[in-house]
C-alpha cells in the first residue's frame, strides 16, 4: 500500500524543492546574465535582472585579450589525461582490493582517504620545490601528474565500492565455466562494472576540470588551464565583473554541457547498488 500524501503537503514540498534548486543555481544564472551586461550595468544598483542592453562585447574582449582556445586545450589535456592515468592505476587496484582482500585492505583504503583530509596548502611548498627541481612547473605533464595523484584516492574508493557490489559467485561461475583470468575480466567483470567505471570517469573529469588550487599555483602561462583563465580576470578592485563573468561562462560551459548530457549516467553510477 502506498503512503497517502496530502496535496497541501505535496505542494509545499514541491515549492520548497524548487526554491532550494533555484537558490543553488542562482549564482550560475547570475554569472551568465552578468556576462551579457556592460561593466557599468554589471555593478549598477539596484541590479537589473533581464531588462538591460544585452551585449556580446565582453566575450569579444575576453577572446581578444587572452587565448581561450589554448586554455581550453590545456584543461582538456590535463583533465582527460589525469582521468585516463588514474583509471589505469585504479581499476587493477580496486579490483584486487575488492576481490582479493587481505587483512590490511581496509587500513590501506582508510589511509588513502586520509590523504584527502589534509589541506593541500600544507604540502604546497614541498611539492612546488619538487616540481621546480624536476622542471615540471607550468607544464601540462606536471599538472596531469598532480591531478592524477590528488584524485586517485577518490577514483579507487568509487571503483572499489562498485566492484564490491558485483557478486563473487558470478566470477566463480566464470572460473568454473573455463574462463581464464583475462576472459573473466574482459567478458564478465568489465561489462558488469561499466556503469561504475563510466560515472567514475565523468566525475573525475569534472573534478579535474574544476580543480583550482594546484592549477593556479603550479602554472604561469604555458600550461594554464581555464581556472587560470578565469582568475586572470579577477582583480582586487573588482572592476571587471562583466568580463570575469564572460570568462567564467566560457570556462564552465564545456563541463556543464558534458554534465548535462551525461547526467543519467552520472546519477545511475552514483546510486549504483544503493538499492538492491
Amino acid at each position: 500500500m502506498s503512503r497517502h500524501v496530502s496535496s497541501t503537503r505535496r505542494w509545499t514540498v514541491t515549492i520548497a524543492a524548487w526554491l532550494v534548486g533555484i537558490l543553488m543555481f542562482f549564482p550560475i544564472l547570475w554569472t551568465v546574465l552578468t556576462s551579457f551586461k556592460t561593466e557599468a550595468e554589471a555593478v549598477a544598483s539596484p541590479p537589473s535582472f533581464l531588462f538591460f542592453n544585452w551585449t556580446l562585447e565582453n566575450y569579444a574582449e575576453v577572446q581578444s585579450r587572452s587565448d581561450y582556445v589554448q586554455h581550453f586545450l590545456n584543461s582538456v589535456t590535463i583533465s582527460l589525461g589525469s582521468t585516463a592515468i588514474g583509471l589505469l592505476i585504479a581499476i587493477p587496484a580496486a579490483w584486487a582490493m575488492a576481490f582479493q582482500p587481505t587483512k590490511r585492505t581496509k587500513d590501506l583504503l582508510m589511509w588513502m582517504l586520509s590523504t584527502k583530509m589534509m589541506p593541500p596548502v600544507g604540502v604546497l611548498v614541498p611539492i612546488y620545490l619538487m616540481f621546480r627541481d624536476a622542471g615540471l612547473l607550468d607544464t601540462r605533464l606536471g599538472l596531469t601528474i598532480i591531478l592524477t595523484l590528488i584524485d586517485l584516492p577518490i577514483i579507487i574508493w568509487m571503483l572499489y565500492t562498485y566492484f564490491k557490489e558485483i557478486p563473487g559467485e558470478i566470477l566463480e561461475a566464470a572460473r568454473m565455466d573455463g574462463a581464464t583470468l583475462w576472459s573473466e575480466i574482459a567478458y564478465v567483470l568489465t561489462p558488469m562494472a561499466v556503469p561504475g567505471i563510466a560515472s567514475t570517469l565523468l566525475l573525475n573529469v569534472i573534478l579535474a576540470w574544476n580543480e583550482a588550487f594546484w592549477t593556479l599555483n603550479l602554472t604561469a602561462a604555458k600550461a594554464a588551464p581555464l581556472t587560470a583563465f578565469i582568475a586572470s580576470y579577477s582583480s582586487p578592485e573588482g572592476l571587471f565583473y562583466a568580463k570575469l563573468s564572460a570568462a567564467s561562462t566560457m570556462a564552465i560551459a564545456p563541463i556543464l554541457i558534458l554534465g548535462w548530457f551525461s547526467q543519467k549516467q552520472l546519477v545511475r553510477g552514483l546510486t549504483f547498488g544503493a538499492v538492491k
Partner: protein
C-alpha cells in the same frame, strides 16, 4: 567417467579447521547428497571439489587423476550456484554458450549445443531474454543449462533450490532427478533440507562440524542411523529420544522411536499422556503428546484420527523399531 575420491581432505581458515579430515568415494554416475545443518562444512567440501577453495591437506582425485592443485576450469566439473550466478549482461543464449565459447568451440557447434540444452530445459522461447526478465525457476534452468552444455564429468549443485518457493522447489527437484536419469552423470548436491536429500539421493553423506557422520542410501540412514545425530537429522518429524529408566530398561543410555512407530490407543498402552497440539495435515496427523513418564513425544498417525487438545491417550512403541544408543550416542546393534 565421473568418479571422485577424497583422501584425508582437510580445510582450515587460519586457525579454524572447518573440515579436519575427510575420506569419501563417489562412484561414476552416482547422485550424492551432502546434507547437514548450516555451518557443517558441506558447501566448503563442495567448493574444495570444485577447486574454488584450496585444500589445506589431503588429495582430491577426479577420474583417478590427482586434481588437488588443478584450477576449477581444468577439473571438468560444472557447478550450479544457490544464487544462480547468471551473467546479468548476457542473454540466456549467451549465458548457456559461455562455457563453450571459453572452450573455443566453433560457432555452429555452439549454436547446436545451446539449442539442444534449451530444448531439454524448455528454454527455447526465452533464449533472447536477459536473466532479469526470467522467473526464479527459469533462471535456475538457465544455470543448469549452462552446466550441462559442456558435458562435464560431474555436476556440483550448491543448495540450488533454496531461493525458490515451495511448489517450484518440488517441481525442480523432480526435474533435476529426471535430468540425472537422462544424463547418467555423477551429481553432487548440497542441501540442508533432508527431504531433498531423501528424495533425490542414491547416497547421502551426513555432515556435522566438518566430519562425516554417516554415508549410506536414504533408507539405510533412515532405518539404521549410526548415531544420535543422524537419527535426529534424518526423518521428519524428528525421531523421539528418551533417556532415563525407560532407556536403561532396554540396556541403552538413549532410545529413539520414530513418530510413525508409535501406536495410539484410547486406553492402556506402555506410556500414557495428554494431547498437546494436534496438527492435521489431511493425509497425516502429527500429535504432540505430553506423556506422564517420558516427556513430550511426537506421533504420526493417519489423517482420519480425530484427537484434539486435552484428550487422554496411551502410546505403545513398535518394539522392532526402537533404536538404542550408548552414552556417546553410538548405535547399539
Amino acid at each position: 567417467m565421473g568418479s571422485i575420491v577424497l583422501r584425508q581432505v582437510g580445510k582450515a581458515f587460519g586457525e579454524l579447521a572447518v573440515i579436519p579430515s575427510i575420506d569419501l568415494e563417489i562412484a561414476d554416475g552416482e547422485f550424492v547428497v551432502f546434507v547437514g545443518p548450516s555451518g557443517c562444512g558441506k558447501s566448503t567440501l563442495l567448493r574444495l571439489i570444485a577447486g574454488l577453495e584450496d585444500a589445506t591437506s589431503g588429495h582430491i582425485l577426479i577420474n583417478g587423476q590427482d586434481a588437488t592443485d588443478l584450477p576449477p576450469a581444468k577439473r571438468g566439473l560444472s557447478m550450479v550456484f544457490q544464487s544462480y550466478a547468471l551473467y546479468p549482461h548476457m542473454s540466456v543464449r549467451a549465458n548457456i554458450a559461455f562455457p563453450l565459447k571459453m572452450a573455443g568451440l566453433p560457432k555452429h557447434e555452439i549454436d547446436a549445443k545451446v539449442a539442444t540444452a534449451a530444448a531439454t530445459l524448455n528454454l527455447t522461447d526465452y533464449l533472447d531474454r536477459k536473466p532479469k526478465q526470467l522467473s526464479g525457476g527459469q533462471r535456475q534452468r538457465v544455470a543448469i543449462g549452462r552446466a550441462i552444455v559442456r558435458q562435464p564429468s560431474a555436476f556440483l549443485f550448491d543448495e540450488p533450490l533454496s531461493n525458490l518457493d515451495a511448489a517450484l522447489r518440488v517441481q525442480m527437484r523432480l526435474e533435476i532427478s529426471e535430468l540425472h536419469q537422462q544424463l547418467g552423470t555423477t551429481m553432487i548436491y548440497v542441501t540442508h533440507d533432508q527431504v531433498e536429500a531423501m528424495t533425490m539421493a542414491d547416497k547421502i553423506v551426513v555432515l556435522n562440524r566438518g566430519n562425516i557422520e554417516q554415508v549410506g542410501s536414504p533408507l539405510e540412514l533412515y532405518r539404521h542411523p549410526d548415531n544420535l545425530f543422524v537419527a535426529g537429522f534424518i526423518g521428519s518429524p524428528k525421531m523421539n529420544f528418551i533417556t532415563g529408566p525407560e532407556a536403561a530398561r532396554l540396556g541403552a543410555h538413549t532410545i529413539g522411536v520414530r513418530p510413525e512407530h508409535l501406536r495410539v490407543t484410547t486406553d492402556g498402552g506402555l506410556w500414557s499422556g495428554t494431547v498437546g497440539v494436534a496438527e492435521h495435515l489431511g493425509s497425516d496427523t502429527f500429535l504432540h503428546i505430553q506423556t506422564d513418564t517420558v516427556g513430550t513425544l511426537t506421533v504420526r498417525t493417519s489423517g482420519e484420527v480425530s484427537l484434539n487438545h486435552g484428550d487422554h491417550i496411551g502410546l505403545t512403541p513398535d518394539a522392532a523399531a526402537i533404536h538404542r544408543y550408548d552414552q556417546k550416542g553410538k548405535a547399539i546393534r
